[in-house]
């Protein structure tokens, strides 16, 4: 079992004729993802790599190929428009990999999506993978292992690090979701916790947050109230100075708010097994599952 995506997910790649889109479309197909179409306005009618039909619009791709998910690699200046196009075409899940969308565009995008039933993951994220079935994103597929741990994270390479630790300990993953490092996101921790909590194939959850905003505190309140599966949490940026943006647009301590200490406090109070060292995330999950205190 898994959440949001599985081997039957029919994926379009927006920006398939670009270098990043093309590179990752290939990697996704090698992993087993059903990439059924590409969309690049003005390049419709081509057959990408001799096998994937390219359309001018998402609407055409949906009509001709029955796509039900999209991965967007369109550059920052046009990415918000591309995600809106996918949503308007009725695609229920859009994974937006693009980094560098302006915050005002992200606000417009979020308001637009609220009037549709489309879920966006990202922007500025590694994507989502259900190990052994499908990946919609840029993560290295081979580090994953099929299993029953749900992973949700605001980061890219830190997610790979966590997955690697889990896989090496024999702890496979049901689905791993990178929700992205931007201040305005399509999917937050609570959305993912709800999905994992309801998924019979997920036994426990790893949540990796970071400084900035209050998403971890809100997640903590939700866990306390609703989640009965074990949750292991890590918060990056314990040493980050206030007022500085730490790479991710959303990773900034503002007006003394959004610190790792506050987030850990809320998570601990919600009964979450908190890990301070990023090297111990997998080991902590193992202990928790073996019934030992973290």
């Amino acid at each position: 079992m898994s959440v949001l995506v599985d081997k039957n997910t029919r994926v379009i790649v927006q920006g398939i004729t670009g270098s990043a889109g093309g590179f990752h479309a290939k990697a996704m197909m090698e992993y087993g993802t059903q990439v059924v179409a590409g969309v690049t306005p003005g390049k419709g009618g081509q057959l990408w790599e001799g096998k994937v039909p390219v359309f001018n619009s998402c609407e055409e791709a949906v009509r001709n190929e029955g796509a039900n998910a999209s991965v967007c690699f369109v550059p920052g200046i046009a990415a918000a428009d591309s995600v809106m196009e996918a949503a308007a075409a009725g695609i229920p899940l859009v994974v937006c990999i693009t980094e560098g969308i302006s915050i005002m565009d992200e606000c417009r995008l979020r308001a637009f999506l609220q009037r549709t039933s489309t879920r966006m993951i990202g922007p500025n994220c590694p994507g989502i993978i259900t190990p052994g079935e499908t990946k919609l994103g840029i993560m290295p597929g081979y580090i994953h292992k099929k299993g029953d741990i749900g992973v949700v994270s605001r980061s890219g390479t830190l997610t790979y690090e966590i997955v690697w630790q889990l896989s090496n300990l024999g702890l496979g993953q049901s689905t791993c979701i990178g929700i992205g490092g931007d201040p305005v996101q399509g999917t937050d921790f609570i959305d993912c916790l709800k999905l994992f909590n309801a998924d019979a194939g997920t036994r426990a959850i790893v949540m990796a947050g970071e400084i900035g905003g209050t998403m971890e505190e809100e997640a903590a309140a939700y866990i306390k109230e609703h989640v009965r599966k074990p949750v292991v949490a890590f918060v990056g940026g314990q040493t980050a100075p206030p007022g500085k943006r730490m790479g991710h647009a959303g990773a900034i301590i503002q007006g003394g708010k959004g610190t790792a200490a506050e987030k850990y406090k809320a998570l601990r109070e919600a009964g979450v097994a908190c890990v301070i060292s990023p090297a111990e995330i997998g080991a902590t999950m193992k202990k928790v599952l073996e019934g030992k205190a973290a």
Binding site: I77, M104, G156, T157, M215, G237, M246, S277, P278, E280
Partner: protein, 391 residues
């Protein structure tokens, strides 16, 4: 990216938001001229730096003659100004703003920020102007009135009214405030602001409403996407950390810290976590450095040079989880960079991910003294030892 007060006021004026007559001066003589040109018997000379608390730091003075304006400008120009927000080293004052004085009846606050949870800008107002809004928020959160608004629809008239009534304004002042609220909301959206603050917003004894101080931050993405060329041209590189500025020009994310372990990592989340584990192992990170997912050999070399330009760095930790960035490409970049840069401090490398075996082989066969580590925990321990900081 942030703007100076005088620049913020230039933009505010374009949106019809009233400010006091003022001029920028870069020399004492210009300050005296500015005083004369303004023609107000009482004027204020204000240091222009990107930090608050300028009054407390002695960077703001009321003057009553051209000589006084000149003397105060001479006293602060070209010298560091230390305020509660600058840190002990202060910031060099390169410009002053000479502005007409104002008889203040009331000091209010008006600001706009992004509400991340709602994904909307929120216009905020408070009767408690002239103090840091974070202080007000901590002491008396009810004292801050908030109106979130949709980027597409803009601020609605009822929202501006709600803030005006909440501030206890009446008559012409109420009307002037309402139109200012609309202008601020529109400017925030159109100019891709990350922060826009008028603090204090002043009701002068003579009536009306005036922006006495202004602070503006712009979304760096909008600058990168060239959506705001006019604002981008206002960038003051003197106000930025020179290493951070140089790193940005190579497409690298760098933040200076005051420790002695340099670190180079791919990905922001892993980079933050690497800093954290250095601290946990008993060291202190000298920097945050994210080389990004698609770094090439050249960028790795440049990143290296940046790290080593910091004289406090006693050892370097390279932590790479190869995804898009393949380990062999990275290892070759490290080897080339080390040969070119002449590294005098120990280097600990932790490589994992795509093509890791090939990457480790390149490092091993290079003959360079690189200490390798199997995982993050071991890497942190080894780098502290190598730096001679082990407990």
């Amino acid at each position: 990216m942030n703007l100076h007060e005088y620049q913020t006021k230039q933009v505010l004026s374009k949106y019809g938001i009233p400010t006091l007559p003022g001029r920028v001066a870069e020399s004492p003589e210009q300050a005296a001229e500015a005083y004369r040109a303004i023609g107000s018997p009482v004027a204020v000379v204000k240091a222009q730096i990107h930090a608050g608390g300028r009054g407390k730091g002695g960077g703001v003075k009321l003057v009553r003659s051209a000589e006084e304006a000149r003397d105060f400008a001479a006293k602060i120009l070209g010298k560091p100004l230390v305020t509660p927000q600058t840190g002990p080293q202060g910031r060099i004052v390169r410009k002053v703003l000479v502005e007409a004085g104002c008889d203040i009846a009331r000091e209010l606050y008006l600001g706009c920020v992004l509400d991340r949870r709602l994904g909307l800008p929120v216009l905020m107002a408070s009767k408690q102007g002239g103090v840091e809004i974070e202080e007000v928020a901590a002491r008396d959160p009810q004292a801050i009135l908030k109106q979130p608004f949709d980027v597409g629809h803009g601020l609605q008239a009822f929202q501006a009214r709600a803030l005006g009534f909440g501030l206890g304004l009446e008559g012409e002042t109420f009307k002037a405030f309402a139109s200012m609220a609309h202008a601020v909301a529109r400017m925030f959206v159109e100019r891709d602001c990350s922060l826009l603050e008028i603090n204090p917003l002043v009701v002068p004894k003579s009536g009306g409403i005036v922006a006495l101080d202004g602070k503006m931050g712009i979304d760096d993405r909008a600058i990168e996407l060239k959506k705001q060329p006019e604002l981008a041209a206002m960038r003051d590189v003197h106000e930025e950390d020179p290493i951070e500025h140089e790193a940005a020009s190579y497409g690298l994310n760098y933040v200076s810290m005051d420790g002695n372990i340099g670190c180079m990592v791919n990905g922001a989340g892993l980079a933050m976590s690497t800093m954290d584990i250095i601290k946990l192992a008993g060291g202190a990170p000298a920097n945050f450095l994210d080389v990004g997912g698609g770094a090439n050999k050249d960028q790795v070399a440049k990143a290296f040079k940046l790290l080593l330009a910091n004289p406090s760095v006693k050892a370097v930790l390279i932590n790479i989880f190869g995804g898009i960035l393949k380990c062999d490409v990275l290892a070759q970049g490290i080897v080339d960079a080390i040969k070119e840069v002449k590294v005098a401090v120990p280097i600990v490398v932790r490589l994992e991910g795509t093509n890791v075996e090939a990457g480790r082989k390149i490092l091993k066969e290079s003959g360079l003294k690189v200490i390798s580590a199997a995982d993050m925990g071991e890497a942190a321990k080894k780098v502290i030892e190598a730096a001679g900081l082990a407990r």
